[in-house]
Homo-oligomer: 163 residues x 2
Amino acid sequence: MAELSAMPVAVPPVDKFREFLLTKRMRLTPEREAIVTAVYATHEHFDADVWVEKLERRKGGASRSTVYRTLGLLEEAGLIRKVARTNDREVYEHDYGYPHHDHLICKKCGEMTEFPNEVIAEVLERIAAEHGFRMSGHRLEVEGICATCSRPPQRLHRKLDMI
Amino acid sequence: MAELSAMPVAVPPVDKFREFLLTKRMRLTPEREAIVTAVYATHEHFDADVWVEKLERRKGGASRSTVYRTLGLLEEAGLIRKVARTNDREVYEHDYGYPHHDHLICKKCGEMTEFPNEVIAEVLERIAAEHGFRMSGHRLEVEGICATCSRPPQRLHRKLDMI
DNA sequence: CTACGTGCAAAGCTTTTGCATGGAA
DNA sequence: TTCCATGCAAAAGCTTTGCACGTAG
């Protein structure tokens, strides 16, 4: 996955999550901690099932229900956000500790390329203001064919397939 | 729903659809025609169920399966496009005969307000070009609270609710 | 006669929920 | 004791699909 570089983070995600939970009189259980840790172990796009697969039926893991419930909480907490929907699944990514951005999504290979979105964010701020709309966020999926997929098939390093 | 004004259309949607079907060796059946006509009768956002409700079990209508299948075809044909997902349902709108735009979606009342997106389209063109990405379209959902919902509750024309 | 379409019902999938059990404060 | 949480299994809900029957060309 094409990635933008990380920004230094003052408060680690887990602490941020604990804070959030406190405001709702909820606890940072071992299951919840396992999930946040897993999610933040790498900066990659993911869907619920990725973590269900890895955490379910494992000690120190969490059940399917808990994964779904926790992802919901992480979203509320502003730690992750839904960025797209692929194969009928919601795709999430970190929304904390990284610069805001949107995605180019290749219809052929599914590759998601990130790009910074300051300009777009500004435009949206202005438009929202004009409508008296209190914007809390946005989801922008740009679809098309990525450079690799639109390039004609390479024959290099391949045997000729015609005699 | 807040709407932008329509543009004059040279070829009617039904004909456009017929053309498209021809290229796939498919026919414009009465069912398909009923669906396109219904969809283009008003310029409103809709989901599959809207038309299932109105067309199923009615003569001159179409079954649930056919509605779903036809919406897929209309999308392929470029006549409609998915603009959002609400209550687990895909929401479509016309993508032919109207200026391009995006939406402000109120998290409280669900209202979708359209706004023209030329600037955003231009920005995206540039970004796509920079990445060698062949953009075919985009989906932008701006979420937040609309003007009406963020306004403090009006007491006017209401009895005082404290004695 | 062949290919394309429809409708019905069943299946598919992800995500949500009810409920009993268990543990922290 | 009283909440809050987990896990399991079942439910939910939209969308897709298999299949048999029709029908346009």
